[in-house]
């Protein structure tokens, strides 16, 4: 640890709050978001203001990350409050704007907890240490005799105590401690971490306060819509702009060429209110230049995939042993083709952005998962300076990965600049569903072989997908089968794709974990035990380096560190523990189920989280499906920060997975999406939700990791496997509705 200095190299900075009180800032590395200890070169660390303590002791903590329903606006401040040692009910949480002083600010990849678990605690602990030092100086007693409790410093020997707020003035004269050197609490002393802590915005939500992007309003702003060329990459070459501008309430109408690659161009209509702008779209007569995407269709992709399936690329993406030879000697060989479609994110709040461009400055109010990219993107599109772009982060009505791309914000800024007035650009549901960055479709042509003892001896996967996705060479079951072969083929596509909750895993797990059940059936083995046996094989070594896997015990390293992980993050022991836990909790193999009802199991590791899930499912003769009960067992490290939110994330992930399993598909025709609204893209509704979804955790000794994503992938195959067991019929194409299934 570097020594404490009293200049800008200090990691904490203290300053007075207007009206009294104390503001405690921490130096954060703007590049990594972590303390700048030992870092050489690059931009200097800047102070933030994570904590404010008022004279009356009330504490304000900044939530720095974007809130999309994952609960991070509650989670990160909990970490600070715990170590500061203040009662949670004296804490007010404020959403931070985009500012380099807060370090990394993003919502994606389930990274907030692993990246911030220690850093946020250190900020709180450093502030607490400062207050202890202050009280020690004020009372002229050794720091070692002082303790804290509930926002007070205590001196037991003299029975004195002082509230943090009352120490503010004196604290301003004290040298700030180095937070990295301050001892963090022993987890057994936690009063907030690990305790059910409710969403800090609950009261605002249930009373309808204007906290979402759609609620932003500016004086003199116009409401706008963009009537786009339906085909991806297309644009309008002309339109009846004069006629549109003559409509009552319409203020401006102009053509907009594509501002960003993922959004086609079209006609912008601005009006006094949104309904007037939206209504004018029915009157648009535009000439479209649709571009090359019109050649794209889901039908065409499927035909191309079938054509490519037997034509393996010259180079395998991964080749261990000799799979083709092993198929020749296997006792049983199974072949199957799996498919999952494009998906729209369909967050309930359609995309929107409110933007003012004035005197060379751009100010934005919008929901975004990746605010740090906005200034650069807007600067590119508008010619303004990135430093002149301000971003106010609004709460998001869901997002699920869509707002990792700021395309819609960049475009709104260009519109505001062109219009010369502040604008609120509001997409319709149809706009949102037909101009998404879709979860990519994928085809898996699988072949597996088991030997006479029922062991998997060979595996071949030819993964074929429209442009935008490929299959990671390290994806399970790589390393767990001696003879393993993976091919990737790409079908040329102009359909925009992007990350969606558990990207790279949310469809892949369906194909792989379903096919494992097919192999278990061929081997005559219990599917859960078959999986444990697979995970117990000697691994194919050496493991390839996985550039995406964070070094264990590295960034998220807290007290106790974390055991080094030799397999690029994929630890069979951790997964086996979740399988054993879900076996126990679900009563797998021990529960007598009626005809037409069965349990299915699946597991998947993603975003550093290990999850095994069992679903109990009933299917009747009319293919009506009821998911009765879901058991989820996971390992995300040694500490569940907020259990009540952890269960919420588990329930939400399961229900989202059920929506995509049963109903969701975006079909492409003529380079555009066919489905437009929820009637054609039905999410699970309340009456279809399982009666019980229970989450359980393995208490491992790894650093805490995120929970927003890794629960989702296994639920699709768990339910699909249960249906196959209940009916004897395997469905390999999503969504299930295409095969006539529906919710009971």
């Amino acid at each position: 640890m570097s020594p404490v200095n009293l200049d800008r190299r200090s990691f904490l900075r203290i300053s007075a709050l207007a009206g009294g009180g104390l503001m405690i800032a921490a130096y954060v590395d703007p590049v990594t978001g972590l303390f700048a200890q030992g870092r050489q070169g690059g931009p200097p660390p800047v102070p933030n203001s994570f904590i404010k303590i008022a004279p009356d002791g009330r504490v304000t903590i900044i939530g720095k990350n974007p809130e999309i329903g994952q609960g991070i606006k509650t989670t990160l401040p909990m970490l600070i409050a715990e170590e500061l040692d203040v009662p949670w009910d004296t804490v007010t949480v404020e959403q931070g704007d985009l500012d380099a002083k807060y370090g990394q600010q993003s919502a994606g990849g389930s990274t907030a907890v692993p990246n911030n678990y220690t850093a946020m605690r250190q900020i709180g602990a450093g502030a607490r240490q400062l207050l202890i030092s202050t009280a020690a100086a004020q009372w002229n007693v050794p720091e070692s005799e002082l303790t804290t409790d509930a926002g007070k410093v205590l001196h037991a020997a003299s029975k004195r105590s002082v509230g943090y707020g009352a120490l503010a003035a004196k604290a301003l004269t004290m040298p700030p401690p180095d937070p990295a050197s301050v001892k963090l609490k022993d987890p057994k002393d936690f009063k907030i971490i690990g305790k059910n802590t409710r969403n800090v915005d609950n009261a605002a939500i249930v009373t309808g306060k204007p906290i979402f992007g759609i609620d932003a309003k500016l004086p003199g702003m116009l409401y706008g819509v963009i009537h786009r060329c339906p085909a991806y990459g297309g644009k309008a070459t002309s339109a009846n702009l004069d006629e549109l501008k003559a409509l009552p309430g319409v203020k401006q109408a102009f053509l907009l060429d594509p501002v960003v690659p993922s959004l086609s161009g079209g006609v912008v209509i601005l009006a006094d209110n949104w309904w007037t702008a939206q209504s004018a779209r029915a009157r648009v007569k535009a000439v479209w230049d649709s571009g090359a995407a019109v050649a794209n269709s889901s039908e065409g992709f499927a035909a191309k995939a079938a054509e490519l399936a037997p034509k393996f690329p010259a180079n395998a993406t991964r080749k261990d042993g000799d799979a083709e030879a092993a198929f020749g000697t296997a006792a049983k060989v199974v072949e199957a083709a799996y498919f999952y479609p494009f998906l729209s994110h369909a967050g309930l709040e359609p995309l929107n952005a409110t933007v003012s461009v004035k005197d060379g400055k751009c100010e934005i109010w919008a929901g975004t998962q990746q605010p740090s990219g906005i200034p650069r993107n807007v600067a590119q599109a508008t010619g303004l300076q990135a430093a002149d772009v301000t971003v106010h982060m609004m709460r998001m009505g869901g997002s699920f990965g869509r707002r990792l791309n700021n395309d819609f914000i960049t475009e709104a800024a260009k519109i505001a600049q062109t219009a010369g007035v502040p604008v609120h650009i509001q997409w319709t549901r149809e706009d949102d569903m037909t101009h998404d960055n879709y979860r990519g479709a994928g085809f898996h042509f699988l072949k597996g072989g088991v030997d006479a003892s029922g062991k998997v001896v060979a595996w071949r996967n030819h993964y074929i997908a429209p442009t935008g996705t490929n299959l990671n060479q390290a994806e399970f079951p790589a390393r767990f089968i001696q003879n393993y072969l993976l091919y990737n083929s790409v079908i040329d596509s102009k359909v925009p794709t992007g990350p969606m909750r558990a990207p790279g895993s949310n469809g892949v797990a369906f194909a792989i974990q379903s096919f494992i059940d097919e192999l278990a059936l061929a081997a005559g083995k219990d599917p859960l035990q078959f999986r444990i046996d697979m995970l117990s094989q000697p691994l194919v070594l050496p493991p390839p380096p996985d550039p995406n896997a964070p070094a264990a015990g590295g960034r998220a390293g807290g007290p106790g560190g974390g055991a080094p992980n030799p397999f690029g993050g994929w630890d069979p022991a951790r997964m086996k523990a979740t399988l054993e836990l879900v076996r126990e909790k679900s009563g797998w193999g021990k529960t007598k189920l009626p005809a037409g009802t069965a349990m299915g199991v699946a597991f998947h590791m993603s975003h550093q989280g290990f999850f095994s899930e069992v679903a109990e499912v009933s299917v009747d003769a009319q293919k009506r499906v009821k998911v009765n009960h879901v058991w989820v067992a996971g390992d995300i490290g040694r500490q569940i920060i907020n259990p009540i939110n952890a269960q919420a994330q588990i329930q939400g992930s399961v229900i989202e997975g059920l929506s995509s399993l049963m109903s969701w598909e975006i079909t492409i025709k003529d380079g555009a999406a066919v489905q437009q609204n929820f009637d054609e893209y039905q999410p699970v509704r309340l009456r279809q939700a399982p009666k019980a979804i229970e989450g359980f955790f393995v208490a491992s000794d790894y650093n805490p990791t995120g929970l927003g994503e890794p629960v989702l992938p296994p639920i699709l195959p768990a339910v699909a496997n249960a249906i196959a067991t209940a009916t004897g019929v395997r469905v390999r194409t999503l969504p299930l509705s295409k095969a006539g299934y529906k919710w009971a």
Binding site: N199, N202, V206, G397, T428, S653, R685, P690, K691
Partner: protein
């Protein structure tokens, strides 16, 4: 055209096209933005308000149909967020992103006003028009049950 409305017990006169949906009058003209836009075709229920005491999807109600009739929005459900459903929602930590919850609460409140102690089947039927994309349904169910129980308790005390 000029239309006289009664929203959350207050009179409001608006000058808007007669076919403008009540949703957009509430949001953009009256600045009552707690009522949310989700689909524009009555599929998702995010825009649910009470009109003449019944839950309606305000994106499907031309404002002229609401003239003179009592409209209640999430902002008017209770004076200080103290409706039993609002309390249950906070206690059970129902919201995730929170965007659909105004609509969920208004639908549930209409249910409880006619059916103070709903069965599971009645809850399922009443809530079918409200999508929660985050999947908070298990807690919504529990929240309605809890509010019904608390309501019943309150009635007994009275």
């Amino acid at each position: 055209m000029k239309i006289d409305l009664n929203v959350n017990g207050k009179a409001a006169s608006v000058d808007v096209p007669a076919d403008m949906p009540l949703l957009w009058v509430l949001r953009d003209v009256l600045n009552l933005s707690g009522t949310k836009f989700g689909c524009g075709e009555g599929q998702c229920g995010a825009c649910t308000v009470h009109l003449r005491g019944r839950a309606v999807k305000s994106c499907q109600v031309p404002v002229s149909n609401a003239a003179g009739a009592p409209v209640v929005t999430i902002e008017g459900l209770s004076p200080n967020g103290t409706h039993p459903l609002q309390q249950a929602w906070v206690e059970l930590d129902v919201p995730q992103c929170g965007y659909c919850q105004a609509g969920q609460l208004m639908t549930a409140a209409a249910l409880l006003s006619t059916t103070p102690n709903p069965s599971d089947a009645e809850i399922d039927a009443a809530m079918n028009g409200n999508i929660c994309r985050c999947g908070t349904y298990l807690r919504i169910r529990e929240g309605i049950r809890r509010a019904a129980a608390n309501n019943a308790g309150a009635n007994k005390i009275r």
